[in-house]
């Protein structure tokens, strides 16, 4: 049996489960408290976002979303997520594979490093990039130096107006940084729980490393991977703090969706701000839907496997 199955409720497990002794009253009370809490803190704000978004009518809603600055923000957010999610996906699989399947010195250091973006405030991670790549940082001092080392490199970068901070590359970098751990963190426990026996069997039967990965490891982790990608994407599109430090907030150029929402809100355009915010809210709902679907698929697959093994 696949050990991961224990984290999901499969139907025949549920059958053993009416052994709680609490009275129906206590059960209803607990469910009631949970529901009230959820509706006050999640449902009401969600409804509020959409109510405010359409406060000035549906025409205004689409006018706001069709504005060139809004379209540019949407494009930039899609670009940043489109680059950072695949990169972090590849990195996450590599890191999880290395950590779960091999023993090496410094494994704990690697694990700690992966967790770094979770423990550092996003604003600090943005500032790090400003300090390194800003005009007063290493890169800027190098480009403006009178006698730089490798003058051909400095000239080439200057001629091509090479920019990181306050331009698209900085926004992509900051997004990669903050979404770094999502895929790896999702896969490491899963791969550790699965152990190495299946891979070892594949190797004994003569599979190459690459074949082992594609035919044994990847099918085993595909649902966990998808789950990590969904979370990673949601964070990439919603990131505010780190991106706001490196963006420069040039309207129509370096504003992402969250930054554009802030700009509209500060322009006293509250309905407009909520209209754009509703895009992110819809993204959240889609994320939630996908996540549920992935969990359902995963559970179904496990049930099927269990039936076979029984």
């Amino acid at each position: 049996m696949n050990p991961v199955a224990t984290t999901f409720h499969t139907p025949h497990q549920a059958a053993h489960r009416h052994s709680t002794t609490e009275s129906p009253f206590v059960r209803r009370l607990l469910i009631g408290v949970a529901l009230v809490f959820l509706s006050v803190f999640l449902l009401v704000p969600l409804v509020c976002v959409f109510a405010q978004a359409f406060a000035k009518g549906i025409g205004f809603y689409f006018h706001t979303l069709g504005d060139p600055n809004a379209l540019s923000a949407i494009k930039l957010t899609l670009l940043a997520a489109g680059i950072s999610v695949p990169l972090n996906c590849v990195f996450g699989v590599c890191a999880a594979w290395a950590i779960a399947k091999f023993d090496f010195r410094g494994k704990n250091i690697l694990l700690t490093l992966i967790d770094l973006p979770f423990s550092v405030s996003p604003v600090i991670s943005g500032l790090i990039y400003v300090l390194v790549f800003g005009a007063q940082g290493w890169l800027g001092l190098y480009l403006n130096a009178d006698n730089p080392k490798f003058p051909w490199l400095a000239n080439w970068l200057n001629e091509h107006n090479f920019k990181i901070i306050f331009a698209v590359p900085g926004i992509v970098l900051a997004t990669i940084f903050v979404t770094f751990p999502f895929v790896a963190r999702e896969l490491i426990p899963l791969m550790q729980a699965q152990g190495r026996s299946e891979e070892e069997a594949a190797r004994v039967l003569g599979a190459s490393g690459w074949q082992t990965f594609w035919r044994v490891t990847l099918p085993n982790i595909k649902w966990g991977l998808l789950y990590g990608v969904i979370l990673c994407n949601a964070r990439a599109m919603g990131e505010f703090g780190a991106v706001s430090v490196v963006s420069g907030k040039i309207r129509g150029q370096t504003n992402t969706i969250p930054l554009h929402i802030e700009a509209l809100y500060d322009d006293y355009n509250f309905a407009g701000a909520f209209a754009v915010a509703s895009l992110l809210a819809m993204l959240a709902l889609v994320t939630l839907g996908l996540k549920t679907w992935v969990e359902y698929q995963h559970a179904r697959q496990n049930t099927a496997e269990e039936k076979i093994s029984l």
């Binding site: 901070i165 907030k249 309207r251 500060d266």
Partner: protein, 330 residues
């Protein structure tokens, strides 16, 4: 090969004097959003009629000090239009992107419009706030931005300090006591002036907002004159938000000429009228009469008279370890 020929063709066309498309970046402070969105359109029209080039001006807004730091760190502004001279001095000193005497290059200390600090209170003025003394009373909640990052907040601080000096025979210790009481009444410090206005007007926090005059009028216009009132204190400061071309950036972008014209046009009749309509006090005196209703008469002191210039004021009051750091404990 074909693309190469296309590029060659395009460059030769551009060199032979077809209409160009020019991009400018104006890095500005917080409350100028409405002013420059109107002015940029007017300037683009003027410039197209004059040279047949299209010019698109992009905007970036935020707390004045924060914006200056962004330019220092590499935000490639062609022009800066900030809340106070010290922030442009900082760009000149720290990044050497423009000469130290930048402020002499345009009329009126490179300040095409001025403003001052007034009070915005809730309708009916329930706490009876009439002058600075009422702002520091116990139980009055004051909304103002952080002087470390916001230009408007620094002007507000200096206005309060100047009032305290005037009413206490220029006793610095009394002024410090006054300003301490004032900031004890502040529940939140936003990073920019616009953030404070939203805190006061939209989030309903505080009894009085220390605001740019233009920002206070705009709040009445946006949220309705039935919600707020403007109170003019007996004394305030003449706030001079200056403008400058960022020479090195403009030179690199090849936009020096248009950047200069962009700032010069602020002094034209049309530029001055747009400023006045957006509640900035115009330099052009013929307009002062026309828009007199927007600007109440009060005693205004300048930072040069009262504080010996911005460099000195910044060092004494807002630098690390300065008076603001001594009196404000969050």
């Amino acid at each position: 090969m074909k693309t190469f020929l296309n590029i060659l063709l395009a460059t030769s066309l551009a060199l032979s004097g077809g209409a160009k498309e020019i991009k400018l970046l104006n890095v500005s402070y917080d409350p100028t959003r409405e002013l420059y969105s109107e002015y940029n359109a007017a300037f683009a029209k003027y410039w197209q009629a004059k040279t047949s080039d299209t010019v698109t001006v992009s905007q970036s807004h935020g707390g004045s000090g924060k914006q200056a730091q962004a330019v220092v760190n590499g935000l490639e502004a062609d022009v800066v239009t900030l809340a106070l001279a010290y922030d442009i001095d900082a760009i000149s000193q720290q990044a050497r992107l423009l000469p130290a005497d930048w402020q002499q290059r345009l009329p009126n200390n490179s300040t095409p419009y001025t403003s001052t600090i007034v009070f915005l209170v809730r309708k009916g003025n329930p706490k009876q706030i009439k002058d600075w003394d009422d702002v520091v009373k116990k139980g009055v909640s004051v909304v103002v931005a952080n002087p470390k990052t916001s230009g408007g907040a620094r002007w507000a601080y200096l206005a309060a300090w100047a009032y305290a000096l005037e009413t206490n025979n220029h006793d610095e210790a009394k002024a410090k006591e006054f300003i301490t009481k004032l900031y004890k009444n502040v529940p939140v410090l936003d990073s920019g002036a616009r953030g404070s206005t939203v805190t006061f007007a939209q989030r309903d926090i505080g009894d009085v907002l220390l605001a740019w005059e233009n920002e206070a009028h705009l709040a009445l216009k946006e949220f309705g004159a039935d919600k707020f009132e403007i109170v003019t204190p007996s004394l305030s400061i003449l706030a001079e938000p200056p403008v400058s071309v960022v020479d090195k950036n403009a030179k690199r972008h090849g936009t020096t000429e248009v950047a200069k014209a962009y700032l010069n046009y602020l002094y034209s009749d049309e530029g001055q009228e747009i400023a006045a309509k957006n509640f900035y006090r115009p330099r052009n005196e013929t307009l002062t009469g026309k828009y007199a209703g927007n600007f109440s008469q009060l005693k205004l002191v300048t930072v040069d008279q009262e504080f010996g210039g911005w460099a000195k004021a910044q060092k004494t009051h807002f630098a690390d370890g300065g008076i603001f750091d001594q009196i404000f404990q969050p």
